[in-house]
Point group: C2
């Protein structure tokens, strides 16, 4: 006969002739419980296969063991890797991961944040929706002391915990790479400028040009709302139609860059000879497209992992921690789409 509900601390308490509170404290190594008692309790707990009922604990503590992860779209290579890392880190620490997606809509983001709040997650990992420019909806978490860690797409003027890559440096390196390959007129596909990541990438691009004494030409700095394949194609079409087209493109994502390759090829433009291209993210696509797309690689899974670890740290520090920004390194991954020299 199975006991539906499993062993409880009351069962253990009865068997050991102690009170449930003692059992509870013993299991948590509470200092006011004797060494011997702790040992006895723990041994019996193992013997009887005791398992904490996390729901009961959650009710009492008004907080679950679940970490919410809020992203724009799950089915994107970068995001799913990030989630993967977060999931592993959380599970390793005995936490569960709750997922939701904003579909890049602010309204969804707000709803989901609210749902997470009401389901009493013990921490939140967020990568903002493309639209998001105000952050009030996170206040309930911040106020009530629940750790929130922003990842990748972050609110840049807020003093909160962040895990990001060095977008400026990455963009600088990518641009410099093109310059090193002999490119002199480099176009840029950027994203919505209210998102810090795109602003930083633009800045890195500009700084690299300046550092190499190359002129800055605003007509070949283009911006997409979502940097979709469609936008990538239109932007490429525009560039190639210019009287003075660029000799290379630094795209702030791979999707648009791949699209650029496809369109350019179809237009008879040789890559990289006529047009060198480098993307951003190092999506799997990069190695499939012909020629293979150079890109900027970043540790997506690590970002997820670290974000979760940050949450756990903040929890254990109990608010004695000052929000910090963790910046991860990136690497230019050079492939045929940008390699002009052997």
């Amino acid at each position: 006969m199975k006991q539906k509900t499993g062993v409880t601390i009351y069962d253990l308490a009865t068997e050991l002739n102690v009170s449930p509170s003692t059992v509870s404290r013993a299991l948590q190594n509470h200092p006011s419980i004797g060494k011997a008692t702790i040992k006895a309790v723990k041994e019996l707990a193992v013997k009887r296969g005791y398992r904490l009922n996390s729901i009961a604990a959650s009710l009492r503590k008004q907080q679950t063991n679940n970490i919410g992860v809020l992203v724009s779209w799950i089915n994107r290579p970068f995001i799913s890797s990030l989630i993967s890392g977060a999931e592993e880190a959380a599970r390793a620490a005995g936490f569960n991961v709750l997922i939701s997606q904003s579909h890049d809509s602010l309204d969804n983001e707000k709803d989901n944040v609210k749902a997470f709040f009401e389901s009493r997650v013990c921490g939140l990992v967020v990568s903002l929706a493309m639209e998001t420019q105000d952050f009030e909806h996170f206040n309930r978490f911040l106020e009530n002391g629940t750790p929130v860690v922003f990842v990748d797409r972050i609110p840049d003027h807020l003093d909160v915990q962040k895990v990001i890559i060095d977008n400026h440096a990455a963009a600088f390196k990518a641009t410099q790479h093109l310059i090193d390959q002999g490119c002199k007129r480099i176009a840029h596909f950027g994203g919505a400028l209210h998102q810090a990541i795109y602003r930083e990438r633009l800045r890195g691009y500009k700084d690299a040009l300046q550092a190499n004494n190359l002129p800055l030409d605003d007509t070949i700095i283009l911006h997409g709302d979502l940097l979709s394949a469609d936008e990538g194609q239109k932007m490429t079409e525009f560039l190639l139609g210019l009287p003075n087209p660029p000799d290379s493109i630094f795209s702030a994502n791979d999707t648009a860059a791949v699209s650029a390759i496809q369109f350019a090829k179809s237009a008879g433009v040789r890559i990289p000879e006529d047009l060198a291209i480098i993307g951003f993210n190092n999506d799997p696509l990069c190695m499939i497209i012909d020629p293979p797309l150079s890109s900027v690689g970043h540790p997506a899974a690590d970002m997820g992992r670290i974000a979760v670890q940050q949450i756990l740290q903040i929890k254990s520090a109990e608010g004695k921690l000052v929000p910090q920004t963790i910046m991860l390194n990136t690497a230019v991954i050079a492939r045929a789409s940008s390699l002009r020299k052997t």
Copy 2:
């Protein structure tokens, strides 16, 4: 001054001069509560911003509002789409989605199932690990009446709820497509045969050959453990080295098919003239590779969505439902990699 914990049914009860039990029942439209009372309770609930404390409810009911989703790898196009669909359906119904990945290891799968069980998920959506051949670890769920829905990679000899695609028909159609394009000697890349999906695909392939009076040659039926890019390349190399190489390949996934294209191209084999190729899954890669890869498309997001809906249905039916198998349709998506005729 914010109330940390929010409004409870006790607050509503006090204000309305009824008992908490009445409030609880009213909110659930319990038949033994008067129409007027229900209305009054609900109105006040809205007015005071009452929110169910799901933890308390969970404790009492010994069950959460979380649906566990257990997959092999989150960061795969098919899987992440499936999760995306599941997440949307769950959220729409007021449930949360808990994610975990087996990394295709049976041990991980067991651990994660156990973790989900202990965290009292109210339902489980599973796509099996590649390794999995026994299913005892799901018994605790089945025994205790928690709905489990298997998706895509399913235990085929078990009488459980399943959501799958018609792998046999899909494989038949894909093979027939190659035949229609004039292919006469069609190779097959299959997966581990203890997984029903691969067995079915193989069967569909064979049946299509037979239906067209084409000979069956076991030397060009190859099997990969994971159908990775690496395996795809090796299998292609093997095929091209045969004295009598095939004129086409039906691969049970896109990864291996893309790899085949890449290797074949590098070996000077023309696609589709010398070698026509069709994959399976319709991953984004298909449209990136040159030539674009034909594939079998299936509704990944729908599978996730339907799986979650099944869970909800089973819950509401309270065990009065016989396990059924829902089979979704697929479509051959013909692209240049297999189109020999105009």
